[in-house]
């Protein structure tokens, strides 16, 4: 499978990365090189093979239900590019 520039532009939009027409053109070639490389996976017979869910054989640990965190809004917004009264601020979002 290979991609065209329109697809690259659509995917970039999905990934919220602005790309110029030139960049989209260049990336189309690069992405097709990678997609061409991974094409060889189609040689592998994966019938009846379970996809890997975890690299190690272990079960997920659960935590107790208790409030052990939070309560420090200043810490949460410490690195915010724009905040007011401990809210994060973004350009107005219209529903």
């Amino acid at each position: 499978m290979s991609v065209d520039t329109a697809t690259v532009t659509r995917v970039a939009r999905l990934a919220r990365i602005k790309v110029s027409a030139d960049e989209a053109e260049r990336m189309t070639h690069e992405l097709n090189s990678i997609l061409g490389f991974v094409e060889q996976l189609n040689e592998v017979d994966v019938a009846g093979v379970e996809p890997m869910t975890s690299a190690v054989n272990t079960t997920m640990r659960w935590r107790q239900d208790a409030v052990t965190d939070g309560g420090d809004a200043g810490r949460v917004t410490l690195n915010a590019p724009l905040s007011d009264d401990n809210f994060f601020m973004v350009p107005k979002v219209v529903e």
Binding site: Q40, R61, R75, L78, F88
Partner: protein
């Protein structure tokens, strides 16, 4: 100032002994390193130096030593890869998108190191978000390998993504460094710089507080001067962590005790699939040297087959970008990091992310987004995860047949020049990880140890792959290779 030179020449184990014996103080050791770091700025290994922090930590270590309360890494100066969150200190994964980010938290691995008495010298350069094999994708520019080809002044890459870590250890501007490995990012730079690096079993070190690249593959480990130092560092880094449910609740063994153990009775598998077409003869020769060393030391050598080896790299270039595309969605300019002005929220996202991410990161985000998008999931991601199962099964079959560890070359070549592989085809660069990436895909431990020099005088490394959570056997075998092959140091030119 002969003392300074002398002190930085010591290994971690030697420095530890010197501090214990009172031959020098932690402050003296730290000062020697602070000076060495300054003198080596041309290598661009450190992107942030924290000398004041280092001095304060060293002073506290001296007080502890005086009280007889020295901890395992008391007063040992280390460099920290920029991927690890360090409280109040620049943490950007060498990306512009995290511009100005100073985390109000400390990663579990570095917290473990400080709790054991280590001293922080600064943050080390790396490929942006650990995506790269040459340290050329860093927002802070490439790192120069302390090694040069014989008779050449050309700057070589230290490998990547932990290029700063490997270069700093090889240039003796830290006693050891933290690193991470998603597809070879500890072992390949270790091999390129004549240092020792180990990627432990997935789950051995906590991932909490390490900027995520590909969650199912990322694992922290040390890069060190020699096998013993790597063992000492891993012991402190490893832990089960309630904050990372993929970290495994198994006791951390005394890895150092495994160094120097006899290899007699161990069976070493030599996978035929690692003999690549077009592989340089010297790499093949090095592999043979490793085989001979282990054979002479009493190990049994057997040929094995890991039939799905060739599919590891293509499967990796689906799984890792897919996970990364999702892991890196949080860098949106809202809560921290770079924010570009936008007409609306979407414009803000698109501009911030376009300005914040470098080309390689963008490429991987786009590939990852594409392979997960509607209609392609089964063909790409699901298939790749099935191939992963087969890769892991290959190793399980080998281990079940009595193989204790697998020996392979660490890289298909020695270090190359900065800019040499910056051509149009990204896949050419990806092939650097062809020997290391299988280990991440299967979640196994892998150790890179230098075993000789190339014809051009550059270090070449071997890789040992172990059973899950059997890092000890790797330290034993790595120690045996190191003892026979010797250690390799770059001549100081910087």
């Amino acid at each position: 100032m002969s003392l300074v030179t002398d002190l930085t020449a010591l290994t971690l184990a030697e420095a530890r002994a010197g501090l214990k014996a009172g031959d020098f103080t932690a402050v003296e050791l730290t000062e020697a390193y602070v000076a060495a770091v300054e003198a080596a700025r041309g290598l661009n290994a450190y992107i942030v130096e924290t000398p004041e922090k280092a001095r304060a930590m060293a002073k506290a270590s001296d007080e502890r030593i005086a009280r007889g309360e020295a901890r395992p890494l008391e007063g040992i100066p280390l460099g920290i890869k920029d991927l690890f969150a360090t409280e109040g200190v620049h943490t950007q994964a060498c990306s512009h998108v995290l511009d100005g980010f100073k985390p109000p938290y400390e990663s579990t691995v570095t917290a473990n190191l400080w709790a054991d008495g280590a001293v922080m010298l600064g943050k080390l350069n790396m490929d942006e978000f650990a995506m790269g094999s040459s340290n050329e994708t860093s927002y802070y520019g490439p790192v120069t390998n302390p090694w040069r080809r014989q008779g050449s002044n050309a700057s070589l890459v230290p490998g990547g993504s932990s290029g700063g870590s490997a270069a700093a250890v090889a240039a003796r501007i830290c006693l050891g460094a933290t690193a991470t490995d998603t597809g070879g990012s500890i072992r390949q730079p270790a091999a390129f710089t004549g240092t020792v690096g180990i990627k432990p079993t997935y789950g051995r070190c906590s991932r909490w507080g390490i900027v995520a690249f590909a969650s199912s593959l990322d694992q922290a480990g040390p890069i060190a001067r020699d096998v013993r130092d790597a063992a000492i560092l891993l012991k402190s880094m490893a832990s089960v962590d309630p904050k990372d449910t993929t970290s495994v609740d198994l006791p951390v063994p005394d890895y150092e005790a495994a160094v120097g153990r006899s290899v007699k009775g161990l069976t070493i598998g030599i996978p035929r699939e690692y003999r690549l077409d077009g592989m340089p003869a010297e790499v093949d020769a090095l592999w043979q040297t490793g085989i001979e060393i282990l054979k002479d030391a009493g190990a049994t050598i057997v040929d094995i087959s890991l039939p799905h080896t060739k599919y590891a790299l293509p499967a990796y270039y689906i799984v890792a970008p897919a996970e990364a595309s999702s892991n890196l969605a949080r860098y949106d300019g809202v809560r921290y990091g770079l924010r570009e002005k936008g007409d609306d929220i979407v414009d803000l996202y698109e501009k911030s992310r376009a300005a914040g991410f470098g080309d390689e990161v963008k490429r991987r985000i786009l590939i990852g987004t594409y392979v997960l998008s509607a209609g392609y999931y089964d063909a790409y991601y699901l298939r790749a995860q099935k191939v992963r199962t087969l890769i892991k099964r290959d190793f399980e079959t080998a281990y079940a047949s009595g193989v204790d560890a697998v020996l392979t070359p660490a890289t298909p070549s020695a270090a190359f020049a900065i800019g040499e592989k910056a051509g149009a085809d990204p896949v050419e660069m990806y092939l650097n990880d062809v020997f290391t990436v299988t280990v991440n895909m299967a979640g196994l431990p892998g150790l890179a140890v230098p075993a000789g020099l190339s014809a051009e005088g550059l270090p070449l490394g071997l890789q040992l792959i172990g059973r899950p959570f059997d890092e000890e056997t790797l330290f034993t075998l790595g120690g045996a290779i190191e003892q026979a092959a010797g250690r390799f140091s770059a001549d100081k030119w910087w």
